[in-house]
Every structure is written in C-alpha cells, then in structure tokens.
C-alpha cells in the first residue's frame, strides 16, 4: 500500500512581492523516502519545509528536477494540515465520505476510521460543533480513510494544546501501526519529530540542505515517556542550535551589554 516518495535534484525558487531576484529555496535537493518510512523535517521557519510538502502534495511544482511517487496507478495522498480544513457544511462522516468518494476506496472505511479516532458518536456532528482536537481527529481519520500510499503531515498538532496534541500523536502512532503509509512530517516540535519519525532531517539554508540526519531506531509502539526518546530529542536540539544565525545572537548580546551599562 505504501509507496516510495522521491525528490530528485529539485530546484524551487520564489519571487517575493517587490523583490528583483527570486529567492532560491531548494537547489539540487534530493531525498528518498522508503515505503512505509516516516521522515520528519525540522528547521528554522521559512527554510522550505512546507514547500517540500507542497511539492509532494502536488500543490506546487519544482522549477527543475522531479518529485516522484512510485506505485501502482496513481498513488493516493492523504494530508493533515495545521488547521483541519474540513468542509463546515458537511458532517464529520460526510467530510470523510467525500474524500473516500474522490479516492474511490471502500466507503465502510469512513465509519471504521471515525470509530478508530474515537468519534463514532459524532458522525453526524458538523465541524463547528466540535472542539479543535475533535476536528483534527476528523482530519486524521479523513487522511487515513482513503488508505493513502503517502501521508503528508503539515504541523498537524501545532494549533492544539499540549495535552490534546500528545493524545493525537499517540493516535497517529496507532493509525500508522494499522496501516503504514510513507510519511513526511513537518514540525516545530522536536519531541514530536523524535516520537513519530523513523528519521529526522535537520534542514539548514537557504537554499535548504540537509544538515544532519538522525535515525530514530526505537521500537514501536513508542512511549512519550521513554528516556531514550529524550536522548534523540537532545541530538535534534543540538543540531538545530547549530543552524541558528550568529548575527542575531551577537546583536542580542550587544543589546544586553548596553542595557547593563545603562
């Protein structure tokens, strides 16, 4: 069911409004995701993590190079966005149903997935009647109900409170146990990256490049309290710190000195 996701020598640039020259986000960027593997991307804001997700989702196209999802037919892509992006005028069940219709998969998966995310009793509820966490659960159910070959996770829990986010990370882990689509996760939570991913890529740039690859070789299912997880977490943090620009820090220190003198 899962499929390999490959980025081959991708170049991507954007021209910001008012800018004379385009800003190169990716230059000759390559990345291979094995079937069933979940790779997390971490790095500073604006480095290009979301651009990479958009390229994989087909929401954007590279200037050069290619993004390939190999598999039989047209592999299905499920995506969980930062906001649930549900259709407010459809019930929770119908939001999943229309995605299943579009994917052409088994309609029974809709109710199964709603039950799997603990929302069987809310099938007929409209999104506006649900809490933020419940809405994101529906979005998770929608992404997995289409039996995706690839699942793209764009900071899926960053808009939720920590307790809800923690529950949903466990839920995501359970869903991936049942079906293991290839996954690409963009997150600012280093602990989330360590908990969910098989491989964490720390990006630096611009243009974006992989500064460090951290393999998370912990058995699944994982526990968020596992001390070994924190060791990986520290490694990710250390790698991220090395991407911090020196100048703003120096400026900050200078400011602090001036303040001390004043």
């Amino acid at each position: 069911m899962s499929a390999p996701l490959n980025f081959f020598h991708v170049r991507k640039s954007y021209r910001r409004p008012g800018a004379l020259v385009p800003e190169v986000v990716f230059e000759d960027f390559s990345l291979q995701l094995a079937p069933g593997e979940l790779v997390a991307l971490v790095g500073r804001s604006g480095i290009g993590k979301t651009t990479l997700l958009h390229l994989a989702a087909g929401l954007d196209t590279p200037d050069r190079g290619a993004v390939r999802i190999d598999g039989q037919g047209k592999p299905r892509i499920g995506m969980v966005f930062q906001q649930p992006r549900l259709l407010d005028w459809l019930s929770a069940a119908d939001n999943i149903r229309v995605a299943i219709d579009a994917a052409g998969t088994d309609q029974r998966r809709g109710s199964e997935m709603l039950a799997a995310v603990g929302l069987a009793d809310y099938a007929h509820a409209y999104p506006l009647a649900l809490s933020g966490g419940q809405r994101q659960r529906v979005a998770l159910a929608r992404a997995f109900a289409i039996e995706p070959a690839i699942v793209l996770l764009a900071e899926p829990f960053s808009a939720l409170d920590e307790l809800t986010a923690r529950r949903l990370r466990l839920l995501l882990q359970e869903l991936r146990q049942a079906q293991a689509p290839t996954g690409l996760l963009v997150t600012h939570s280093t602990l989330e990256a360590a908990f969910l991913a098989d491989r964490v890529l720390v990006l630096d740039g611009p243009p974006a490049r992989i500064l460090e690859t951290i393999e998370i070789d912990l058995a699944r299912p994982r526990s968020p309290e596992d001390p070994a997880l924190f060791a990986f977490h520290r490694r990710i943090i250390a790698a991220l710190k090395s991407t911090e620009p020196a100048e703003p820090l120096a400026l900050l220190e200078k400011k602090r000195d001036l303040h001390a003198v004043g």
Binding site: G58, L59, I77, M79, R85, L90, V98, D101, A102, A129
Partner: protein, 276 residues
C-alpha cells in the same frame, strides 16, 4: 447548610423551551413588522380622511378593491403571469451570472474584461432596458425575459463574484490534495461556499426583476400586474392601483418568508452548530 434542589420535572423542559421559543418568535419577528403595517395603515387612514381626495383613497377603499381583485380571481391570474415572466428572465440571468460571476471571481483578466459591462449594467435604469426591449422585440415573452435578464444579471454577477473570491483557499488546496473531481469540487466546495452570496443575490435580483417587469408590462404587454396598474392609472382608480401593489407585496412577502428564508435556513443549518 445549603441544599441544592433538583428540578421537579425534567420532562417539562423541552415543552417549556418550545413555548419560550415560540413566544420569542412572536415577540421578536412577527409583532414588530405587523405593528409597522398597522401604524402605516392608521397613518394613511388619517391622511385620507383629512385630504378627502379621490386620489388618496381610504384604507377601506383599498381593502374593498383588494377583495374585488382577489375574489374575481384576477389577482391570482395576473400575478401568476407576472411571476412566470420574472421566473423566465431570472433563470436566464442566473445561468449567465453563474458563468460570468464564477469566471470573473477566479480570473483577473476575465474580471477586467467584464468590468465595463457590469458598470453599465448596474447604472442603467430598468426603464431603459424595458423601453429598448419593447422597441427591439415588440410584444412577447422575449421582451420581458431579455429586459429582466439585462436588469438583474449585473447585481447577481457581482454577488457571485464576491462569493467566489471569498472562498477559503485552504479548502481549495485540501480538495486538490484529496483529488476531488470537478463535479465534487462544485458540489461540496464551491456551491456551499457561495450559497449565502447566491441567496442574497437572488433576493436583490428578484426585487430588480419586479421593477423591470412592471415597466415592460406598462409599455409593451397586454396583461400582468404592470398592465393592470397602467389600466387603473388611466382610469384614475388609485384604490385599485394600491390594491394591486399590496397584492404583489403580499406575494413577494410569501416568497421571501415562506420560500427563500426557509430555504436559506435549511441550506445553512450547519452554521447553527457553532451556537450550540
């Protein structure tokens, strides 16, 4: 010690809520407009009695004329004819507005292309369309349909265009990623999102259509409410003119409150969920 008492009967609550709901509906939505109509009738009656002019009939005269046109069945026939003409013209306007409004909402160049036509359409009075169509097409359904379509389409197009431009791009991206078919996008994304704009455009268009059709019927047709108004005007029968106006006003109110508002409530029922 404080003793918290349980409510005696929990079963009475839904009935009580229904009663409270009906009471607030009567107090908030029915009484104020009814009061306005009563005050208007009272003010008119006082004015009519003071002026003592055949040009300002009393409320009683208007009610008598209204009873006459309703009793003879004329009101139903003539209003039916006028509504049929409105329906034809409005349907043409709606189809054109959906196509042009959607294209203009999605594409800047198309929007710029249609801008002069919209500006012209919005500023030209319905009277001009009525006159031109009578001159061009003579007497017939083509005249009323074209005049109404020309008079109502611009406002509808603007409304639909705004609706299209207000659609959340996040939802469009979601539909793209999940590979919704064009039909699914139209049914589940575009139409529900522009529905409030469609309904407000329909209201506006309907009121425009009424103004245009009356003129067309006055100038170039031999039946319909506009023709009756013109005939009563020629006979200086102000009471009958007012009776036709009241009859058509009641018809429009039935369409608005009985059809459009209920349709809107049903189609946007998901919004209520936010208030729960």
């Amino acid at each position: 010690m404080t003793v918290l008492q349980e409510p005696a009967t929990t079963g009475a609550r839904p009935a009580q809520r229904r009663f409270d709901g009906a009471r607030s509906l009567v107090a908030g939505a029915i009484v104020p407009p009814l009061l306005f109509c009563l005050l208007l009738a009272l003010g008119w009656e006082i004015m009519a009695r003071r002026l003592h002019s055949p040009l300002v009939p009393t409320v009683g005269d208007v009610v008598a004329a209204l009873s006459r046109i309703v009793g003879s069945g004329d009101a139903f026939i003539q209003i039916g004819i006028t509504l049929e003409r409105i329906a034809f013209g409005f349907t043409v306007a709606f189809v054109v507005a959906i196509a042009v409004g959607t294209a203009s909402g999605r594409n800047k160049t198309i929007r710029a292309f249609f801008e002069p036509a919209l500006l012209l359409g919005l500023t030209v009075p319905g009277l001009i369309w009525a006159l031109l169509c009578v001159i061009w097409f003579g007497i017939g359904l083509r005249t009323s349909t074209t005049a109404i379509a020309l008079g109502t389409a611009p406002a509808l197009i603007v409304s639909i265009m705004h609706g299209i431009r207000s659609i959340d791009t996040d939802v469009i991206e979601m539909a793209h990623v999940f590979r919704f078919s064009p039909l699914a996008r139209l049914r589940y994304v575009w139409l529900p999102a522009i529905l409030p704009f469609l309904l407000s455009g329909a209201r506006l268009g309907f009121s425009h259509a009424w103004k245009v059709i009356v003129l067309v019927e006055i100038f170039g047709l031999s039946d319909g409410v506009g023709y009756q108004l013109n005939a009563d005007f020629s006979a200086q029968d102000v009471a009958s003119m007012l009776a036709w106006t009241v009859a058509f006003g009641i018809t429009m109110a039935v369409i608005e409150y009985g059809l459009l508002q209920n349709l809107e409530r049903y189609l946007t029922r998901w919004r209520k969920a936010a208030k729960v």
